[in-house]
Amino acid sequence: MDRRTFLQSSLAAAALQSLGAASPSLAFAAAPATASYRNLLVLIELSGGNDGLNTVVPYADPAYYALRPKIAIARDDVVQLSDRAGLHPALAPLQPLWRSEELAVLQGIGYPAPNLSHFRSIEIWDTASSSDAYLTDGWLTRAFAAAPAPRAFAADGIVIGSNAMGPLAGSGTRAVALSNTDNFLRQARLAAPGGEPRNSAYRHILNVEADIVQAAMKLDAHHGFATEFPQGTFGNAVKTACQVIASPSGVAVVRLSLAGFDTHGAQAPTQARLLGELGRGIVALKSALDELGRWNDTLILTYAEFGRRPRENLSAGTDHGTANTHFALGGRVIGGFYGAAPMLDRLSGDGNLAHAVDFREIYATVLERWWGLPSQPTLGKRFAPVPFVRA
């Protein structure tokens, strides 16, 4: 991006931030009393930075094969979606969802002045901040702080199989991390919040303990599914997610993680294995949601800190990049391509892709179209929703 645009956006962000700081009640007042949290959001983090170019492959672009002599996906192996782009073969299980127009491919997702550090960039995604702003709470935490899920819900959000809370980090939201519902319910008997909070750490522990008690009262781990869940860590996490979703009390967000995408060397086998787990996991999730009658009110979104550099490195891997491709899936998703296909002939000075869609436009879509919430108080700035899902 050019310097002038950068300056404009950073100035605008700074101005909005100071405005937000001066009037904290504004965000609260703007939120409606009830959001449509019956609409479930399932986030899947592809941690480490999945290589979007080898996920949705621009197989008709000669530049793609020129940039990746060793690791490009051969044209014949691609699962074709259009006459230009197709899925990595390990994602073949998703093809039926594409045909039924329940899979949206979101291309060129990124943000201005991209940061190439894993930690900083995922922090930017998790907090929905600008590249030059530092926020502490996750974007969903801010949304729930303004418009909490009903008290009857087991929690606002449940994080499965990861100890990093991501978009649900910070106080002001009822977020529960667990890896197995049975274990959680058994262990929860040991929770008994008590004592006067003396400092921030003490208060944090009391809050977490209270969240455990709430969730344990309302979660039910005994739904029997006909769906067969895939073996392995991610398959187990999907199964746990489905148990959580099957609980009659409700939950607004479930966050899953699939890690290991930081493929600096020998990328091909690692990415194929991970995308295979992702594809099979999503298919199982869809099948279980169908059993529950929830597929039509579920939106599945993938995200990651960044994509990877278009030119492969000499270790048959890829280095940290910028704009990336992501998926949206669900019964009310409007299938097709959104954003802009990667422009491999117009790379930046450091060899990276320019972004076409700000990731906060995706978040605005979730907040406005999916939940019926105003997005601006949460995102600090106006971002236009992308019409990939029906309200």
């Binding site: 190439l116 894993h118 959680f184 058994r186 008590g194 003490y202 522990i205 303990e209 455990i212 000499l314």
Partner: protein, 497 residues
């Protein structure tokens, strides 16, 4: 009213403690006011070690702050006190699954072997933490493990992780500059951050980025171009496959001129590290991180600048910066007591040390810390465990409570002559861990017997002073030894230091 009730409780507790102070003429409390006394000695030992025993606290109580810190630092070690497992001391050629080990069977066998060796390595480190005469040495080794991060998840070979651990310990309280240079050439680090994949004409930026972002300067204090140029300087730093040691490969080193931070020369890797050490941000980043480890969650910027300045003046002497941090007013300030969350390792090893038990089943303890979010030798990413309040979420808090539950419940069952059967046994892995933890010779009665007092309740008051950094939840303490100890270990304040 809730508030007035809690104030009343606090007043009552304070009154009890004052009464104990007045009646117990122990050496610790008869000493003059410029010595630590029991509570400050406890605070110093908890913050710089794992859980101290009552006897250890009493040994430090008569010392002045300066004498206590000097003693702690003088007693630090550069080597472990226990022998490592043989499997990680092998010095033969490195074997990775590759062309010469091509079948799927061989690869599986390799993975299984490394997993076994890795578990033995973790069990050994936990044992060292349990029995070392210098807990500060292990706390600092763990601190640097979480600073110069490498993970067996990527390095795979347990013996490289072991050698890195040995190197971290040898520099743990010595010199930061030497430590930085050693880590940049450490074989596990060269694998973990892709140094071994970097070569002239195709430098891998991974190490160059993280050494600036995480190990020295901090995010945003360098440019992307600095990273690209520095990456060239580190080319040729590799690992010898025969010995598993660092090797410099001149043929793949980029001897050209690089421009880093506006300076141009034919820098090599050591030159770049010296450029990083010459920048004031490095000492500030390390000092602030040590502050969050030992003093409070919110570093005082003015104090950090002062202490970092002295750190630089000492040419990065780690004992100097530690001494300054442990002697600054903020370290003993009342408002900073109980503000830091214990790491899983501190909770697990500290519980064992405080109760004077060193079980053989240290692997079960290592598995317990992993369940709480700290799998030693495998931090989640190159930034390490974030620590602080992030240690506690619904998942990890329950794992902490479950650990305390198992350790204390096993004791009750053992004394009753029964084997422990709980619903947990339904889950085989959890059941196996339960059985191993049940073997721990945890004895609440013996623990309480060491404290002065006539009644078990009076002894319980001392146990509280040893185990909790701030007053407990405030309910009337129970009357029997098991219940007193359980109540203290389940208290919210027990998670804090």
């Amino acid at each position: 009213m809730r508030t007035s009730e809690s104030i009343a409780r606090l007043v009552l507790q304070t009154a009890t403690i004052v009464a104990i102070l007045a009646t117990s003429a122990t050496a610790a409390f008869a000493a003059p006011t410029d010595v630590l006394g029991y509570d400050d000695a406890r605070h110093l030992l908890v913050r710089t070690g794992f859980g101290p025993t009552d006897a250890e606290v009493r040994a430090y109580a008569p010392l002045t702050r300066e004498a206590a810190v000097a003693k702690l630092l003088k007693e630090t070690r550069t080597t472990a006190s226990t022998p490592p497992p043989e499997s990680v001391t092998d010095s033969g050629p490195l074997r990775y699954p590759n062309a010469e080990m091509s079948t799927a069977e061989e690869k599986k066998a390799f993975a299984r072997q490394q997993a076994r060796d890795g578990l033995a390595l973790r069990a050994w480190w936990v044992r060292e933490m349990l029995v070392t005469p210098s807990p500060l040495t292990e706390r600092m080794t763990l601190f640097w493990h979480n600073h110069f991060v490498s993970s067996q998840a990527k390095v795979r070979l347990a013996r490289l992780m072991y050698r890195q651990n040995v190197a971290l310990r040898s520099y743990a309280t010595a010199n930061f500059g030497d430590l930085l240079h050693a880590m940049a050439k450490d074989p596990a680090m060269l694998v973990y951050l892709d140094g071994v994949r970097s070569r002239k004409g195709a430098p891998n930026e991974n190490f160059a980025r993280e050494v600036m972002e995480l190990f020295t300067l901090g995010e945003g204090r360098y440019g992307e171009q600095d990273i690209k140029e520095a990456a060239r300087a580190f080319t040729g730093w590799s690992v010898d496959r025969q010995s598993g040691e660092f090797v410099f490969r001149p043929r793949i080193h980029d001897y050209g001129v690089k421009t880093v931070f506006g300076k141009s020369a034919a820098f090599d890797g050591d030159d770049v590290l010296d450029l990083l050490l010459a920048r004031p941000e490095t000492a500030q980043l390390v000092t602030a991180k040590l502050w969050r480890e030992f003093v409070s969650p919110d570093p005082d910027p003015k104090e950090v600048r002062r202490i970092a300045g002295r750190f630089v003046a000492s040419r990065y002497d780690i004992k100097t910066v530690l001494s300054d941090l442990l002697l600054c007013d903020a370290f003993y300030a009342a408002e900073n007591r109980g503000t830091l969350v214990k790491s899983p390792t501190e909770l697990v090893v500290g519980t064992m040390r405080s109760f004077g038990v060193a079980p053989d089943a240290t692997l079960a303890l290592a598995i317990a810390t992993a369940a709480m979010g700290q799998n030693l030798m495998a931090p989640p990413n190159v930034k390490g465990w974030p620590g602080g309040e992030a240690w506690i979420n619904t998942n990890t808090l329950l794992a902490r409570k479950q650990f305390v539950d198992r350790v204390t419940r096993a004791e009750v069952a053992r004394r009753a002559g029964a084997t422990v059967t709980t619903p947990d046994d339904a889950a085989p892995a959890a059941g196996a861990m339960q059985r191993r933890l049940s073997g721990i010779d945890f004895d609440s009665g013996r623990f309480l017997a060491q404290f002065p007092g006539v009644t078990v309740k009076e002894r319980g008051q001392w146990a509280q002073r040893l185990l909790l950094p701030v007053a407990p939840q405030g309910d009337d303490p129970p009357n029997d030894a098991d219940a007193i100890v359980r109540a203290l270990l389940f208290d919210t304040a027990y998670q804090l230091k």
